[in-house]
Symmetry: C2
């Protein structure tokens, strides 16, 4: 397929890289000249900074910009009768409807960085379309780069995106909190890396509830009190510790597994 990608951020850059082996990325659109040119050079393709100058002759236009701008961008692409997709987990299908008859969602459920280009073959692609024919085309496009393609409606996708915030953004913040705790004591974050990896690996094979360990699930009040004292230097961290600990205790008491 001939594809235009609008947006050269973390998601856009990774998408272009994944799609270009199987498809023709005819143009990259990015609002700053610097970012547009850089991406175009990197992937050896054409670029523009203006939606008016978009290539008119492509099959699919993928909008991969900040959630806030998706609708505005969709309405201003100077094309008609084309398939318009967005990649935002939290946005409804209809965000890109504007003036089009064929549109959809192409949401890769992963965390991306511009400077780490990922292999898409195992990345879940959550797709949605406004009609069966468009769904078929998006499904073909998705299947060309990943073995994990799921038709997911906007209501379901909202919850997937919410869950993703917990396992990715919040988890990463817990890593950052730990980094700071160790740094304050002159200790190296490397110490925690095998633990971080194993914690993630464990839930690939067992349920998170069954993998829970530590003072909270053991209701070890002495250790919990000790930890809260160590966190006196930051009352907000202390609150996060308390809330997560109480939530672990309540969850596991409720389900009676521990």
């Amino acid at each position: 397929m001939k594809i235009v990608v609008i947006g050269a951020g973390n998601v856009g850059t990774n998408l272009i890289n994944a799609l270009r082996d199987k498809h023709d990325i005819v143009q990259i659109v990015s609002k700053t000249e610097h970012s547009a040119r850089k991406a175009a050079l990197k992937f050896n393709t054409d670029y523009t900074t203006k939606l008016d100058n978009v290539n008119k002759d492509s099959d699919v236009y993928i909008i991969s910009v900040n959630d806030t701008f998706v609708q505005d961008v969709a309405g201003n692409i100077a094309v008609e009768n084309k398939i318009i997709l967005h990649t935002a987990g939290s946005m409804d299908l209809d965000t890109v409807k504007t003036k089009y008859n064929n549109y959809g969602v192409f949401y890769p459920l992963q965390t991306f960085s511009k400077n780490k280009l990922l292999d898409f073959s195992d990345i879940p692609l959550c797709i949605e379309a406004n009609n069966k024919n468009t769904e078929k085309i998006i499904c073909e496009l998705a299947s060309s780069i990943s073995s994990k393609v799921f038709v997911i409606n906007s209501e379901q996708r909202k919850y997937i995106h919410l869950a993703a915030v917990f396992v990715c953004n919040f988890t990463n913040h817990l890593y950052n909190i730990s980094y700071q705790i160790l740094k304050n004591k002159g200790l190296d974050f490397d110490l925690l890396k095998p633990l971080i990896s194993e914690t993630a690996d464990k839930v690939l094979n067992i349920l998170p509830a069954d993998a829970q360990t530590g003072p909270a699930v053991r209701k070890d009040e002495i250790i919990i009190e000790k930890h809260l004292k160590l966190l006196l230097f930051d009352t907000k961290l202390q609150k996060i510790y308390k809330d997560l600990t109480n939530n672990i205790i309540e969850t596991h008491t409720k389900y009676g597994e521990f």
Copy 2:
């Protein structure tokens, strides 16, 4: 070395398995007959349920029981002039002092399950001893199974244990929260597994602060409000979402990196 391991829980079982290739595990002590016999059969060694019947002729006695019982167990092992170690991240060195001249800590910084025996070669072992000679012996023991041996004092170890609670126990609880969010909507937790793995993989090579993505670090108030509405069904989860989001915003504003 000849070693007695007291406790056949998650840590004890993994330690026995790691040590038995290089050392002689002469006895396993566990308070219930069932657990003691099961471990002894599994690792083809002797067992007892009574501290009075402990093997008197070993070099090292490793106490791997619930934190609350470490001191009591140490004081009641029927041996003298031996090296006594505990494995608890949150307990001071002196917890095992009781009646001994040579004692220490052997804290493997990892999350363990009885039914998943881990390779110790990359697991950080945080050791401490009450004198140089004992430290040397513990260091030899640790180095025989892991390439990552660190002398860490009790004060430092407290903070390492606290940080471990954040990256392991709390992170696992976030996985569990996500599992429940998806389950409520009939969606499969498998969807999130590539994201969980990549989130953990990322911080092996870049700082957690630099890996932060998502609505909080972008200060995307529209998405944050949408997520808080989706969490109306559980006000405690909503609070956890709010606190973590605010903490991400404050941390990244403070350090001015985003």
